[in-house]
């Protein structure tokens, strides 16, 4: 390890670590370090150390226990039904996908050897040969066809049903080749196939009490709502296989209990730590925080097709009333990036950086409310624990409203049934959208006129046309330009206020290494298990 200059103290060390945890960029950090008179070289070495000892050599063996935040008897090993982070983690360790996204958000091949297309409509997927399922069966095209076709069957209850619908034909060409024909051209298919729901299972599988996949781990124990134990798959197709001998996954829904378990050493990874627990981790040498800003957001939706959202001034007023900075600082404790009311996060290569977030301006908000004639009317905002941090956000908005004479009332409703009963239904409500890898998925899911999750009931023919155009285009520059414009349209015209992109913070033991951020979400896009190792 590089020797540190003498005026560099442990306190400074902690400060740098803290800033990194808060998501400070390398440039900001260096600026800070320069200002404090530390040599750039020394600062660099601190950064290196602080952002986990990346350079250390992986160690084989050992076992770990990780805790997610949600679990119930509905826990499933069926990738189509997977709905909670817990399911994703398990699916990632027991199964493999055709493709996956790396840290940079680029598509990499997993079970697929190549994916080819000429027109973005007809695709040829060639599989890697000799991949073995846990039960010894060899992976072939039938497994892939079965795995993908399941999503079209409504009886399966697939979460990816609406995405999968565009695959009008899925057929076996030969033992290792599958042909996929889409409804209309979509250049993003390889990215879509990297979603967790499109894990490949063996042909004909209907029993998911245990998992038979091609993943890095074999399922040894699975108790829904309790735990799973995974052991190393000796026949893993990626060669040397995972570093860990085994890992146990549980869920601790209570944030405080999860953090305490991490601090006491009962678990080595605590997923999705509430920002307000950050102070508990600070100054604890045995734990670290791993921050990912993948693009998960909690947004305030105002339906444009009914009162009060039908009055454009109300929507406009709300956009000024949302104090994004307060939400970032107070609700999320700085572990967020300020959002500009559109779903494509800064980490995404199609993100439009020129679109400035609306500034908090109570006067303008008041002006618009007055114009809409709703000043003083009681308007309920529906929030729930189901949409993370929405209650706190609602309180910030409500307080701001109270200050300009806008009577917004927070209505907290139960998590159970929130998604079917309030989300998309209430005039003013909160939603929570998990990261999606491409703007096309986001737009077609959330903003197209016929989008299943059109949160604000936004309708624009032009937007729909642009979406189809970009989707079918293989010209990157053109795509980017279209996507930038679409982002502007959403920010200005739709009723979805996206105040921040929320960072995911995973608490990890200092003994755990190899965890890197991933655009598909926390815990390395839920696939951490095969990449991490433990200090001996």
């Amino acid at each position: 390890m590089t020797k540190l200059p003498t005026n560099w103290t442990g306190r400074d060390d902690a400060m740098v670590e803290h800033m990194i945890r808060r998501g400070a960029s390398r440039r900001e950090l260096l600026k800070m370090l320069m200002a404090s008179g530390v040599a750039a070289a020394a600062g660099g070495s601190v950064l290196l150390r602080a952002s986990t000892a990346l350079a250390a050599t992986p160690v084989m063996g050992g076992s770990m226990r990780a805790a997610g935040w949600s679990s119930s008897t509905a826990d499933t090993l069926d990738p189509a039904k997977a709905s909670l982070s817990t399911d994703y983690v398990r699916c990632c360790s027991f199964y493999s996908r055709l493709t996956f996204l790396d840290e940079a958000g680029l598509v990499q091949m997993e079970l697929a050897d190549t994916i080819e297309t000429d027109d973005a409509q007809t695709w040829q997927v060639r599989l890697k040969p000799g991949v073995l399922f846990h039960d010894g069966k060899t992976l072939n095209a039938e497994d892939v066809v079965y795995s993908l076709k399941r999503h079209l069957d409504e009886g399966v209850g697939s979460k990816a049903n609406s995405l999968a619908k565009q695959m009008t034909e899925i057929s076996k060409v030969d033992d290792l080749t599958v042909k996929i024909v889409l409804e209309s051209p979509n250049a993003d298919l390889p990215t879509i196939l990297s979603l967790h729901h499109f894990m490949i299972i063996a042909d004909g599988t209907t029993d998911f009490r245990t998992a038979n996949g091609t993943g890095a781990f074999v399922c040894e124990v699975f108790e829904p709502g309790v735990r799973s134990v995974a052991v190393r798959n000796p026949n893993y197709f990626k060669g040397q296989g995972p570093y860990l001998d085994s890992f146990e996954f549980i869920a601790i829904p209570d944030n405080n209990a999860r953090v305490n378990a991490l601090l006491s050493g009962d678990i080595q990874l605590a997923a999705a730590i509430n920002p307000r627990s950050m102070r508990m981790l600070e100054g604890q040498p045995s734990v670290q925080a791993s921050v990912t800003t993948a693009g998960n957001y909690t947004n305030l939706n105002i339906r444009l097709d009914m009162e009060p959202g039908a009055r454009a001034d109300f929507v406009e007023g709300m956009k000024y009333l949302v104090n994004r900075e307060a939400i970032q600082q107070s609700v999320l404790r700085g572990l967020a990036e300020i959002g500009n009311d559109q779903p494509v996060p800064p980490a995404n290569r199609y993100h439009n950086p020129n679109l400035a977030p609306r500034a908090y301006d109570p006067e303008k908000a008041r002006f618009h409310f007055e114009k809409s004639g709703l000043l003083g009317t009681e308007i309920p905002m529906v929030a729930s624990e189901a949409a993370g941090s929405s209650i706190d956000m609602a309180m910030v908005v409500q307080q701001a409203g109270a200050e300009v004479g806008m009577n917004l009332k927070v209505e907290r409703v139960p998590s159970d049934g929130y998604w079917s009963n309030y989300w998309l239904q209430s005039p003013v409500h909160f939603g929570n959208i998990n990261p999606r890898p491409t703007p096309d998925i986001l737009f077609s899911l959330l903003y197209a006129s016929d989008a299943p999750w059109n949160e604000s009931h936004y309708k624009s023919e032009r937007f729909d046309q642009m979406m189809v155009e970009a989707r079918g285009s293989l010209d990157e520059e053109k795509r980017t330009a279209i996507y930038w414009e679409m982002q502007e349209m959403v920010a200005n015209e739709a009723g979805t206020i996206i105040p921040t992109y929320i960072s995911n913070v995973d608490g990890i033991s200092s003994r755990l290494h190899g965890l890197r951020p991933n655009p598909l979400g926390g815990m390395m896009g839920y696939a951490f298990a095969e990449h991490v190792w433990m200090d001996a």
Partner: protein, 286 residues
């Protein structure tokens, strides 16, 4: 002292000394009254609106401006405790009144009428007792959401069977007394027997029981809040305050310590008061 006397034993014109109780009970009473007053005047004396973020920092320490520190969002805990008093005391009181009113009335009716009515009601409520109360609360709140009336009704429903059982047992005892037989032999109807003959004689223990039930309701309410079901934000009862700020516990944040103290002070004081009531009021309660 005066309030207690007139409330619990309306007809008794004994010498005041007979109802004096020791200093532990007096402290309990003083704390109870203190919180009752706070519950009423709280909103007028709180320095900040309960929802206002007054500090960009969180889990702030006790300072000149923020007497009990700030919470996880940087709101003033002192103001929030003053506001929470109204919800905690109010909801618990409403629920306990509801539970006791229905429980006591049904209990007395069952004791006096006896027979099938008594048997069926007792069985039903017994069965209800077998359902864990927190789970019941969770289910109800999951079904209809959490609002103050729902909380009051739920908590009231949870404790009604207990109040019923207690009042029934007392009323059965009183019902066998000769003065009830005298009234019955006179030709008095059931409502008279219940209201005039039995009720005054079970009032003392019922009030003592009501106090204990109040404590349980405060705790169940805080338990429900802990599980995420309580008063609508930005308001919160004390249990809700503890839950919101539980992360601050290991930091020793005042934001979690003061609401906890508030809960404990209320429940302990009620217990102290009840435990030290003069035996005349309490003796039939155990």
């Amino acid at each position: 002292m005066m309030t207690l006397r007139s409330a619990s034993t309306p007809d008794r014109g004994r010498k005041p000394r007979a109802y004096s109780f020791n200093w532990v009970g007096r402290i309990g009473l003083a704390v109870m009254l203190f919180w009752a007053v706070v519950a009423v005047i709280g909103p007028w004396i709180s320095p900040h609106p309960p929802g206002e973020i007054v500090d960009w920092d969180y889990f702030g320490p006790v300072t000149e401006n923020f007497w009990m520190g700030t919470d996880y969002l940087g709101r003033d805990i002192f103001s929030r405790i003053l506001m929470g008093a109204r919800f905690t005391v109010g909801i618990a009181l409403a629920a306990v009144t509801l539970a006791c009113t229905f429980g006591v009335i049904l209990g007395m009716v069952a004791a006096v009428t006896g027979g099938w009515f008594d048997m069926i009601l007792s069985r039903l409520l017994d069965a209800f007792n077998g359902i864990p109360s927190l789970l019941f609360g969770l289910v109800v709140v999951a079904a209809v959401g959490s609002s103050i009336p729902v909380l009051v009704l739920t908590l009231g429903a949870i404790y009604m069977p207990g109040a019923y059982r207690f009042a029934r047992a007392l009323a059965v005892n009183v019902n066998t007394m000769d003065f009830v037989t005298v009234a019955r032999a006179r030709g008095e109807r059931t409502p008279y027997l219940i209201v005039r003959e039995i009720f005054p004689n079970i009032l003392g223990p019922v009030l003592a029981d009501l106090g204990l039930r109040f404590v349980f309701i405060v705790l169940v309410l805080s338990g429900l809040s802990f599980l995420g079901l309580g008063v609508q934000p930005p308001n919160a009862d004390w249990g809700g305050l503890v839950r919101e700020n539980i992360e601050g516990l290991s930091l020793g944040a005042p934001a979690v310590i003061f609401p906890s103290i508030a809960i404990a002070s209320l429940t302990i004081s009620v217990n102290m008061f009840i435990d030290n009531l003069p035996t005349k009021i309490r003796d039939r309660s155990e």
